[in-house]
Symmetry: C2
Subunit: 400 residues, 2 copies
């Protein structure tokens, strides 16, 4: 009785594998600030709960495998506000961005095929590559460049005949980089020249700061690659509705959508109530998104100012999403996080961060880096940064 | 830009591929009785909706990847009523029985591995085998035997060194067979001798008729294979809550559960509201299940009596679930169903059934069979059977 090779090659989520240490700290009465996960503390718009509570049906039936019409229409309208036109058959509703990505990868890549992704990248991407036995080939990016892309020539170097897909997260989890139009142009040119699909994970689309211009890969400016582009979307971050597990895949490549739809049929449907609630979310006034954006910008700046005052800490101010990748003056960031949970506290309080090694495909990279999510409210972030500053002074594995 | 071989090898669901014909019939003003899908018309217990409406949180957050404690506890208690003991770490909550099965298959089988399944079997199993590139090896069963299993020797014949799993649905979709303790003993013995896992899909557990004794593969009588057994469960049919998309995997093999849990982590979580509602469902009084069982028994008998009066129709009375596989005196059941939708009606009414070929792995089997779901109310079934009887007389491809 052996398990599959695919499952055995899958590593435990680096974000989640330290949870037992956090639970241990809590069992000892410590308060733990969770800077390790992107769970916003912003309220989900009431519209969701109202719509769910107003559901008047008396049977929870299977809904259409592609999603309920109200939600598909709401998403189409949302994209129209960005001057992007999608038709009904170019949208498939998914069980979260996670299923959206897993099914998209299954549709595009076989075992041994290569996917090119700027690293560091979202650790769950790796989990999916591993279980699907897809080989990930990283485009290396660095803190010092704010994680922006290298030149076209550098990107082309990693493309091989086995490469089938370019995958980006934009704005990016875990780096906060927001790609410029010019960077997207380079990726589009590479995709055309090398005949690749582009998966653009844009679940943080509204989280772009400082008036920076943001371009979706679905925008009209990228019309010449529209058949290559697959958008991953979700209500999770946009409306602080992670627990609804409602995502979507959008693409103008109808052959792709027809293939992907077979997987949607095999899993029958997505919960109807969550779809009804999510359709209502799209009626949230624009002011909500603006206020949330303002709040995150404030949080980002609190963390930035604090990190900049810590000796030996290296980071750049993120342009989007709500994460930092930060280089710390420590021997090993996983050991440091475990030490924070097991050995350290200030007045009974400590913090948890995600060791960054799990966000890299290249062995050895990220060993002294962490990902910090600034999804907690300002006062908690201020306390967390004080704890981090003091901890870095006391940590026995400090390296300066 | 090619799609993956795995997706290209996946056939469109035979149950769903005729939907355009049904839509065409409706567009022409026909009423279509849907005997093709197992969507019960029984009301979902109010407890679900009450629990969801009473949710007092204001943020929809990620919930634990293994499921919320209330639902896990509710399932454990439900199994205790069957004298089956599961502990908290032996239950993982899933996005429906579909995700439960997909993730279980990913955990156990690699490309090219073999899974042995009595045929005919649920068509979505085939979709999953195809996209995971698992080879299905059928154990042939026949209408005339009520789809009961052949001898141990016959079963052993199909086992090869590549066989890793035996999969059964019990009570079975699409045949309605409910395996005897002796049949389960045979499967258990084969699993032990050949070192196999057993996946037992028991989502129709409460749908067993005529006072027949039902044994779960998780029961104490099967303790000697408990480390091999993986139970697929769901609230969909039990509580007429297909749209909640809440399922579960239960197993006493903790190593298996640890591997499977990695996939749960990768997809983050299952919707919290649906879990809260489903936990409440388990407080439904036993009388609900008894009334539903009585109602289905009545429906089964209506269909049986009607089918038995039709010339050239072959079927056995199902012992469980709510499906019939029926042999019809037609040249090709898919052509017959399309003809029903396109060409036939009585007073503007017609019916849809699932051609059975898609439920078989052996080429050529099931060509003149259909699956009939008796999930509709008695009067609709009576009308449907009248339509079927008349249609069989008029169908140009009739074969007697």
């Amino acid at each position: 009785m052996k398990f599959s090779n695919r499952i055995m090659s899958m590593e435990t989520s680096p974000v989640r594998k330290l949870i037992p240490y956090a639970n241990g700290a809590k069992a000892k009465g410590k308060k733990v600030y969770h800077l390790n996960i992107g769970q916003p503390d912003i309220k989900t718009p009431e519209l969701f709960f109202e719509a769910v509570k107003n559901f008047s049906g008396d049977i929870l039936t299977y809904s259409p495998s592609n999603g309920i019409p109200e939600l598909i229409d709401a998403m189409i309208q949302y994209y129209k506000n960005y001057d992007i036109d999608f038709s009904k058959d170019e949208v498939l509703i998914m069980n979260g961005g996670s299923e959206a990505l897993l099914f998209t990868l299954m549709t595009l890549l076989d075992k041994g095929d290569e996917i090119v992704v700027p690293e560091p990248f979202y650790a769950n991407y790796n989990s999916m590559f591993q279980v699907l036995e897809i080989n990930v080939v990283p485009i290396s990016t660095k803190i010092e460049d704010g994680f922006h892309l290298p030149s076209k020539a550098e990107i082309e170097k990693v493309i091989t005949p086995k490469t089938k897909v370019l995958l980006i997260s934009n704005p990016a989890n875990p780096t906060g980089v927001t790609y410029t139009k010019e960077e997207l142009d380079v990726l589009a040119a590479v995709a055309k020249e090398k005949d690749l699909f582009i998966i653009s994970d844009e679940v943080y689309r509204e989280f772009v700061y400082d008036g920076l211009e943001y371009e979706s890969f679905a925008s009209k400016a990228k019309a010449d690659v529209k058949d290559r582009v697959i958008i991953i979307d979700s209500v999770s971050k946009r409306y602080s509705a992670c627990g609804a597990r409602i995502g979507a895949v959008l693409s103008k490549n109808k052959d792709f959508m027809a293939q992907l739809y077979k997987l949607c049929q095999a899993r029958l449907s997505v919960p109807e109530l969550e779809q009804i609630g999510s359709a209502a979310l799209y009626k949230t006034p624009q002011s909500y998104l603006e206020e949330v954006n303002e709040e995150y910008k404030k949080r980002r700046d609190i963390v930035f100012d604090a990190l900049n005052n810590m000796e030996g800490v290296v980071c750049r101010k993120p342009e989007g999403a709500f994460y930092y990748i930060v280089k710390l003056p420590v021997d090993n960031s996983e050991k440091f996080v475990i030490w924070l949970l097991e050995e350290f506290d200030i007045d009974g309080e400590t913090l948890m961060m995600a060791p960054a090694e799990g966000f890299y495909a290249t062995p050895g990279r990220g060993v002294n880096e962490v990902r910090i999510a600034y999804a907690l409210k300002a006062e908690d972030l201020i306390k967390s940064m004080k704890i981090l500053e003091e901890a870095l002074k006391q940590y026995p594995g400090r390296v300066l």
